[in-house]
């Protein structure tokens, strides 16, 4: 049952989910904001790819880089224009803002492009496969695993070895204290949003690579995945998000394999019931951060 083929598939799904979850948590850790507009950053990346493909031939890698940059820029702009002014107000105000930003970006895509899905071209390397022993392994899956490993490695270096990274982690831990020590809050929060946008951009390459096209509502499923993965792993630690992402990807593959078809329809409902149960009984998730969310009971 668990062939190499299956393992690679599960691992690649897990890597992708880990990136998705990390992008959400990096902002949540600092602002305690569940960013509903996160999924739309993935959509923005996808539309950027679609539009760039219409321009005179650019190498695909350059297009991908531009798309990721646009996602980063969008993330930064949402922070600058929408989140920064409401940051001081209340958590609810910030959450509603993120919901509004999400609706804004979605409907802007509707308005500017179309509600119909747009096919996005990917280079041949994405659709090919390599033969390993007696199984075919899709290149796409290997690409996901390699890219996410590299990205996670680079991020770990950034967070552990640079002053910026240390400041980011300190801010996620105790924001007020970090500010008092002279770390500029605006800079740290902007950096968090930019990293979140970077991850969303990279995710958009692979997510749209799987689906093959982009629609205004494409961001919803990755957002839901990020919710599940971060809750499983622990909302207050970055490691937790990565672990939760991998775990969810693998769990999802197993569930898809063993559940009968008529129950498979309810897969999302099952996953979200698990989320609610975890939040009730083990709200800190698998990996406990230093600060656990407030809870009354």
């Amino acid at each position: 049952m668990f062939s190499i083929d299956f393992l690679i598939n599960a691992l690649s799904l897990g890597s992708l989910y880990a990136l998705i979850a990390l992008g959400l948590v990096i902002v949540y850790g600092i602002l305690k904001l569940v960013n509903f507009a996160y999924g739309e950053l993935i959509m923005v990346g996808g539309y950027a790819l679609f539009m760039l493909a219409n321009l005179p031939a650019l190498p695909w890698l350059v297009m991908a880089l531009i798309a990721v940059t646009i996602a980063m820029l969008t993330s930064y702009l949402t922070e600058r224009v929408a989140f920064r002014p409401v940051r001081e107000k209340s958590l609810t105000a910030m959450l509603i803002t993120s919901f509004a930003v999400s609706t804004l970006l979605q409907n802007a895509a509707l308005l500017i492009v179309s509600s119909r899905s747009r096919a996005v071209q990917f280079p041949a390397i994405f659709s090919g496969s390599v033969r390993l022993g007696n199984v075919d392994i899709a290149n796409r899956n290997i690409l996901v695993i390699v890219t996410s490993s590299l990205l996670l490695f680079a991020l770990t270096l950034l967070l552990k070895r640079t002053i910026l990274g240390i400041a980011l982690r300190a801010a996620a831990d105790k924001f007020q204290m970090t500010r008092m020590l002279g770390v500029p809050a605006n800079l740290i929060i902007s950096v968090a949003f930019v990293i979140s946008g970077l991850l969303a951009g990279v995710v958009s390459l692979f997510w749209i690579g799987r689906v093959g096209s982009v629609t205004p509502t494409i961001g919803l499923s990755p957002l839901l995945i990020a919710f599940v993965a971060t809750v499983i792993g622990g909302m207050n630690s970055l490691e937790g998000a990565v672990v939760g992402g991998y775990l969810y990807g693998i769990l999802f593959s197993i569930i898809s394999l063993i559940l009968p078809q008529n129950l498979l329809d309810y897969r999302e409902a099952f996953m979200f019931s698990i989320v609610i149960l975890i939040l009730l009984f083990k709200p800190e998730g698998l990996i406990r951060g230093t600060y656990s969310g407030e809870r009354v009971g």
Partner: protein, 357 residues
């Protein structure tokens, strides 16, 4: 003489209710006199949205917790009431996979509507009890998860719903005055709840949950009552809407509608019943205006492509602007009141408000 002064004092005490209800009745009367199908359609939709916003205000405004699941309970109320109000023949066409036991049951519309509301409230009561101790981000994610779960169940449980397909063949029972009466009734209910000791306790727990707990407020139970009541209102709104629109699919009870209702409440101000009413009125008017512009542009073919999403883009920008410059909404958490004439009572109120703030 004594009764008239008493009546007068009741009216001045609860002037908010009269000030809120009078313009709504005028709107309804004008619509009735105009007898224009489109206007009537807009006004009925507005009153149904008003019920949803009031329900959301009851839990979110008084409890201070963002609730995304509200529209899910609207969906439950819609499907539940429809199952009981449709004729067996219509059901065998519209709901071919319905459980055979439910097929022959047909009860009058009002009882079906109430039953739909009660079923929504019952579901809410069972699901939400363990969730009410969660606050902040955990509460938001669970309510969002709940919306997704309800949506997935509505889409896939084709023994109860028509699955992802549109359900046809619902009889139209909801007319203008039906929606107006329910809307006004729920304004009174929401106002009563807010001013009652339950509402006061809930608001206390919103402002400082630890202080409230110290003086003996059982936050979990009170939140639970409010959540159930709010789901009942959503369920009734769903039933009214279903018997007004007569064909719908689970897609109607998802994020788009959630956004509209949330926008109405936030624009008006979640802290007060007046905010809910004002927000619903303003957003409804603006939205219809934008839609008219949108369709005028589309019909006139002023642009090369059809214009969609224009109203939503405008609304979300307006929402962000409101949150930046007036986070309490237009009403800022206050109720509209008739200014009190008695100088003594005004003085008392002033001193009371200064001591509180």
């Amino acid at each position: 003489m004594k009764t008239t002064t008493r009546l007068k004092s009741v009216i001045t005490e609860h002037s908010t209710l009269f000030i809120l209800i009078t313009p709504l009745i005028i709107i309804a009367l004008v619509t009735d006199l105009l007898d224009d199908t489109l206007t009537e359609r807009i006004v009925i939709t507005m009153f149904i949205n008003l019920i949803l916003v009031l329900g959301l205000q009851l839990f979110m405004g008084n409890g201070g917790i963002l609730n995304f699941a509200h529209i899910g309970f609207m969906g439950i109320g819609a499907y539940a009431s429809v199952i009981f109000s449709m004729t067996p023949q219509a059901k065998s066409i519209g709901l071919p996979d319905l459980y055979p036991i439910l097929n022959p049951i047909q009860i009058p519309f009002l009882t079906a509507l109430l039953l739909g509301g009660l079923i929504a409230a019952f579901c809410a009561a069972i699901i939400s009890f363990p969730l009410m101790r969660l606050s902040d981000a955990a509460a938001v994610i669970t309510s969002f998860a709940l919306l997704v779960i309800i949506h997935v169940v509505l889409v896939h449980w084709d023994n109860i719903t028509a699955g992802p397909q549109t359900l046809f063949g619902v009889d139209r029972y909801t007319d203008l005055w039906m929606s107006v009466i329910w809307g006004i009734g729920f304004i009174i209910l929401a106002y009563w709840f807010k001013e009652s000791s339950l509402g006061l306790k809930l608001r206390a727990s919103r402002d400082d949950r630890y202080a409230a707990a110290t003086i003996g407020v059982n936050m979990v139970i009170i939140r639970w009552i409010a959540f159930t009541l709010s789901a009942f209102m959503a369920g009734i709104a769903g039933g009214l809407w279903a018997h007004f629109i007569t064909s719908f699919s689970p897609k109607a009870f998802y994020l788009t509608e959630t956004f509209v209702i949330l926008a109405m409440l936030v624009v008006g101000g979640p802290g007060s019943v007046s905010g809910a009413v004002v927000g619903t009125l303003i957003v409804s008017i603006v939205r219809e205006g934008l839609r008219t512009i949108e369709s005028a542009i589309n019909i006139g073919q002023l642009l090369s492509s059809t214009l969609i999403g224009f109203a939503e883009v405008f609304l979300s920008i307006a929402l962000i602007v409101i949150l930046i410059f007036r986070p309490g909404g237009i009403m800022g958490g206050r109720e509209i009141r008739w200014p009190k004439k008695n100088p003594l009572s005004k003085k008392n109120e002033d001193s009371a408000s200064t001591t509180i703030s």
